[in-house]
Symmetry: C2
Subunit: 230 residues, 2 copies
Amino acid sequence: MQAQEIAVNNLARRPWLTRTVSTRETSDPLTDAFKEVGRAVRFERNSEIQADGEPADYFYQVVSGAVRTYKVLDDGRRQISAFHLPGDVIELEASRNHRFSAETIAPSVIRVAKRSAIVALAERRPELANEIWRRTANDLQSAQEHMLLLGRKNAEERVASFLLEMADRSSTEGGVELPMSRQDIADYLGLTIETVSRSLTLLEGTSAIDRSGNRRIRLRNRSALQRLNG
Amino acid sequence: MQAQEIAVNNLARRPWLTRTVSTRETSDPLTDAFKEVGRAVRFERNSEIQADGEPADYFYQVVSGAVRTYKVLDDGRRQISAFHLPGDVIELEASRNHRFSAETIAPSVIRVAKRSAIVALAERRPELANEIWRRTANDLQSAQEHMLLLGRKNAEERVASFLLEMADRSSTEGGVELPMSRQDIADYLGLTIETVSRSLTLLEGTSAIDRSGNRRIRLRNRSALQRLNG
DNA sequence: CGGCCCGTTGAGTTGTGTCAAATGTTGTGG
DNA sequence: CCACAACATTTGACACAACTCAACGGGCCG
């Protein structure tokens, strides 16, 4: 039973591995559509998300795990535009230039559906079309919020905003279990890993947060973080 | 005829005042919908865009002029998320927190339509629903590109990218006529006006651009700018 | 002509990046 | 279960790109 115990421990420390769509959301038209015309694919950690086969546009829905979407400059500078958790939908284009712009952060199950299939369904179901648009508009709102962070917030404010965002999105109370590395956080916040680390140390120094393990963070003083959030 | 001459000169130097939707695009489902259920409103320079009357969500289409959308922090730091030129559609929510997040940059004519009216039309017209979504997805793509700029590009690269973007979006060949102030550019690029100014001087020094008047810029060496664009 | 606004230039400061080393964590094979 | 390797994170010292504050210049309008 030793092996069993270890497995349980690992899961306890990695809640995002088991949290799935069904446990978090009631069904919605897009999730339903994915179940109809999509298929579930399992991905390793750090694998590029793609549908094998001919180049075409796809929709992806995170079932379990976590995903980063990003853009890179020629010299390798990377900007992560969003993290995607279970339930989130990613729309990827079969782009000519940058072939991959989505990767798993943790072992993940992703439902994959051809864009054309979803679009065909949406033509016949206004509430599906509406749901797709609603989600895209939400993503746009988040992007606008993130541009404010990237363009106008300092390092400490960025990290505080990030922690609040992740806490809001995760179901666990009090603490956040971060599925991504410091490098991912840095590339999301437009900083370096060193600056992220220093900012965390700073926040810990003012008792705004507690750290138990690199990726488990407890928000001890939310209002202090909110103040930094702007 | 002196007054007439001055007016003509002014127009010649401010092409965005006369460039309208009809001269740039063939009709599309959303523009058609605006003509059906929207009304045109004239705004002064630097006015907050809003539909008067009860709080509700609206769509706006720029007919002539130019608009900035933005977010601000409590202490006044501002991030412009996009500039909108004739033909572009802005979706604004009757937000509880920040009441105004769109302002005209130049005297503008804006078509205003209630969100519910457009949505109702879209329920009956799949190609309209599709067009709305297509535009939102395009905005999201632009936002992702802009996050890369804000998070990972240096000042000179940001300004170069900005000039290329504006040149691509304006119909005039060779040169760009910028409708916005240096402060607007700075708040779009996540810089200060001084840094924008210095970057322009730098680009001029390397013969990448020419300046004739503060807001008229000629791209003399596009490939040099492209290289900075990444 | 004079005042005002906007943009540019200059000098000095500072927050974040860079480079390097130390420490902690995770995974693997014996 | 331990020992070691490989990797991730933190900490430190220093450099530099962009910011701040200030002065100057030019165009526009009354």
